[in-house]
Amino acid sequence: MSQVNLTINGIPVQAKAGMTILEAAKTVGIDIPTFCHDPELAKVGACRICVVEVAGARNLPAACTVPVAEGMVIQTETERVRAARKTILNLIWANHPQDCLVCEKTGSCKLQDYSYRYGVSGSIYKGQKKEIPFDDTNPFFFRDLNKCILCGKCVRKCHDINGVGAVDFMWRGFKTMVTTPFDVPIEESSCVFCGMCVDVCPVGALTPKQGLGQGRSFEVDKVFTTCPYCGCGCTLYLNVKNDKIVGVTPNFEGPINGHLCVKGRFGWDFVDSPDRLKTPLIKKGGQFVEAGWDEALDLVAEKFKEVRAQYGADALGGFSSARCTNEDNYLFQKLLRVLGTNNVDHCARL
């Protein structure tokens, strides 16, 4: 691919033709703020926080959409650019709750980060704010559309990556909002609760229910692991605080998927659940009682023998789990075959 020569903040840059200003700036370590940009998604240039000054251009173009051109001279932090970004932040704050103290997103919120960077501490504009009812009608995440800055990343993830299209823009002007068709509760929509929208929301409009109030993003250790649910093997980070899992974040750089599904994203509360089985249980006198592994395995072996002696080996069957490793599953089917039956199956097939 051909190269183009341009200058960003006085630094000569050689960029690949077709790159955006944003991408070219990144190659020389210049960080341009973005809300609506996601390398995986279509470029929309909606939030306008990434506007830059390009010599000869009448307006301030969005760095995330404009391709580089030979000889371009770009400035990313001039007074004019900073003024436009401050205006945008002020405009967002004028229509955004100021409850960062209790907002789950504090610490990983782009609005906070850029407000800090540009010294914006609220809004100089006063007036009407959105008043959309808080939505907690689904088991997995909260929707606080009053915090939504309409970057549209959730919409594009849902349509273009997941292919579900459960949400889109509705209304126009100040009333614009992201919601389900006909604004039905999210649980009644086609949403599959994969949580991709939650993962890309730059502010606190979409936050996971589990882990609420249990740890800020800067307080948690991120433990890299592989999702135990199915054979896909998506990698993820367990967000751990005081030896407890308070959340899960996807590993977008991972070789598999990057995104998670509803199980991997939200289904980790079993780990510390009081109902979780930690020892085998044997029913004695109509009641389950805790037992040791030796006792339990002896009982199973004894029952297997009885069944096989009385009804033949094909009266036995084994049902394994997708959450076991391949090696475990291999051994499991081997065991069943040694017992003399081919009756073996696996829950991932269901």
Binding site: G45, C47, A62, A84, Y125, G173, F174
Partner: protein, 594 residues
């Protein structure tokens, strides 16, 4: 008398003033007299002079009648059609001289116009392709099909035609870009999503001369190598849609559209896509998204539609009036076209004259005509003898220009310099009773409602500007509001995604530029000189003019007016709710605003 032709203007304006009922009355009166077959009664497109509608023209002598009602038809037949005695009372009466004339070309409204694009509007039956062909229709297509494609593009470039949709991009260059972009499939799109309040130029062209637009599109298709076109037209224009459909069917039947056009092997089809009423769909990328079935939201440019447009294919998108100019350029030649207009704005422009002007209607004038000529010579000046104050040109994206600029020649560049824009050609005239802050508030209400909601500066910024204007007009303005408005307006202009956002602050910036004192007066003195902002005015009675007739006391709903019979009355401003009923009722202009 031999076979005569009676033309009724059947533009939307005249239809709503009753043209169809009058036509029916004429036909039935003719039938009663057994002479129906001697007259051809035709419905034409818009003749432009909507103020005087319904309009009727009798050919071949070209007698122009206006304000014709069903009950006038018997007299018209008996006196004029049968006996050649002109019905004086139905002729146009000059509001200044009081003289009546039967020759519409002597009427100020028409005399200064140069009707090139509109030459068929009000003259032919738009539902009959033969009439279009009879006025040299489709001759340009025939000529174009014998030309090299690049020669057509060169001709359009040489003509100097610039986009009539508002921004004024050179049409030939746009065609050339689309032509040069490689691709097996290309599209022509006609933007007929005319949404500016008070604008109806494109509507009238589509209603009055749909074939001209089709011919322009077909020539464009041939020139750039497209085989398919779309007309994106507002569903609120049912008559335009109907006449377009008829025109497309007829053009197909005559072999001007469809496969193997005029035996040349060139194929071109035209589809109609009806818009659902979003103003933003007039923005080209939002329009394309809408045709594709997506929500009408603008997309970033580049890539421009010429490179990647409809369904990602190279697309040439022009406005109705632009396409309607094309047959003219090809038929008469670029030089002839370029002989009209100014150095950098060639040809004519159609304007919709509305507001406080005597002759509301549609006027086509050569580029470079001054605003004064348009408003006073063609428009007949300001209603009720009031003072001209300002003119909003270019719709909600345009700007408001004051009396000092009345001699500004109207062309793309001088308008942009003055802080307005050509826009699609809406011209809203304001008199001394218009408050400029209130006017800016009106336009911002419109743009805020119509902002697609995609980009932050437009969606949130227009709301905050609107709120500031609302505060000022309610008398709650603060001294910091003007600098805040200016700063915010410039930021929105600078950083918005599409043309809607980039131009939305224009009404504020231009009124601040030319009428800053009105803002200051509202904020600092709590006063609205125009007497529009209700919170800032009080009603008083001029004791010298008041005759003590008591009419006002009877209509006052809150009994705020006191005074004895035949003695000057007084309004208790503590009680007054400023409903204005007294002012309306008073025959002596004794109720005044302070």
């Amino acid at each position: 008398m031999s076979h005569r032709r009676i033309l009724f203007c059947a533009g939307t304006g005249c239809i709503s003033s009753g043209a169809l009922k009058t036509r029916d009355a004429l036909v039935s009166e003719l039938e009663k007299r057994g002479i129906r077959d001697q007259y051809e009664v035709v419905l034409s497109g818009c003749h432009g002079f909507c103020e005087q509608g319904p309009l009727l023209i009798v050919h071949p002598e070209d007698t122009f009648y206006c304000g014709v009602q069903p009950e006038d038809m018997a007299e018209l037949i008996d006196e004029y059609l049968l006996n050649g005695r002109v019905v004086e009372r139905l002729l146009y009466k000059d509001p200044v001289t009081g003289e009546r004339t039967s020759d519409h070309m002597k009427i100020g409204f028409y005399a200064k116009q140069k009707r090139l694009v509109l030459h068929n509007c009000g003259v032919i039956d738009p539902e009959n392709i033969n009439e279009y062909i009879g006025t040299k229709g489709y001759e340009a297509l025939k000529a174009a099909l014998k030309m090299e494609r690049t020669a057509i593009i060169d001709e359009v470039k040489r003509s100097g035609l610039r986009g009539r949709g508002g921004a004024g991009f050179p049409t030939g260059m746009k065609w050339e870009f689309t032509f040069k972009t490689p691709g097996d499939k290309k599209y022509i799109v006609c933007n007929a999503d005319e949404g500016d309040p008070g604008a109806f130029m494109d509507r009238s062209v589509l209603e009055g001369d749909p074939h001209a637009v089709l011919e322009g599109m077909i020539i464009a298709g041939y020139a750039i190598g497209a085989d398919e076109g779309y007309v994106y037209v507002r569903a609120e224009y049912p008559l335009a849609v109907k006449r377009l459909r008829i025109a497309i069917t007829q053009a197909e039947e005559f072999g001007f559209l469809g496969s193997n056009i005029m035996g040349t092997g060139f194929n071109f089809k035209i589809n109609i896509k009806e818009g659902a009423g979003a103003f933003v769909c007039g923005e080209e990328t939002a329009l394309l998204a809408s045709i594709e079935g997506e929500r009408g939201m603008p997309r970033p440019r580049p890539p421009f539609p010429a490179i990647s447009g409809l369904w990602g294919k190279p697309t040439c998108l022009n406005n109705v009036e632009t396409f309607a100019n094309i047959p003219l350029i090809i038929r008469e030649g670029a030089d002839s076209f370029a002989s009209v207009g100014t150095e950098r704005s060639k040809g004519t422009k159609i304007f919709a004259l509305t507001g406080k002007i005597n002759n509301t209607g549609l006027a086509e004038v050569p580029m470079g005509m001054t605003m004064r000529e348009i408003i006073f010579d063609i428009g007949g000046g300001i209603r009720d003898g009031k003072q001209f104050k300002a003119v909003q040109i270019g719709g909600p994206s345009g700007g408001c220009l004051p009396a000092e600029l009345l001699d500004l020649p109207i062309d793309y560049d001088s308008l942009t310099q003055a802080g307005a824009m050509m826009g699609s050609g809406g011209l809203v005239v304001m008199d001394e009773n218009t408050c400029m802050v209130d006017l800016a508030r009106y336009f911002l209400t419109f743009t805020q409602n119509e902002s697609c909601g995609k980009c932050t500066p437009c969606r949130e910024g227009t709301k905050r500007m609107l709120e500031a204007l609302e505060r000022i007009t309610e008398g709650k303005g603060e001294s910091g509001d003007i600098p805040m408005l200016e700063e915010l307006a410039n930021s929105i202009k600078d950083s918005s995604l599409c043309g809607l956002g980039q131009t939305a602050p224009n009404p504020i910036l231009s009124t601040l530029r030319y009428f800053r004192h009105e803002y200051e007066e509202h904020i600092l003195e709590g006063k609205c000189s125009a007497g529009v902002c209700r919170n800032l005015v009080t009603y008083h009675i001029d004791a010298e003019k008041c005759t003590g007739c008591r009419a006002c006391t009877r209509v006052c709903p809150v009994e705020a007016i006191t005074g004895d019979k035949k003695q000057p009355h007084e309004i208790n401003i503590q009680v007054c709710i400023k409903c204005g009923a007294c002012m309306e009722k008073c025959k002596f202009d004794a109720v005044i605003l302070k």
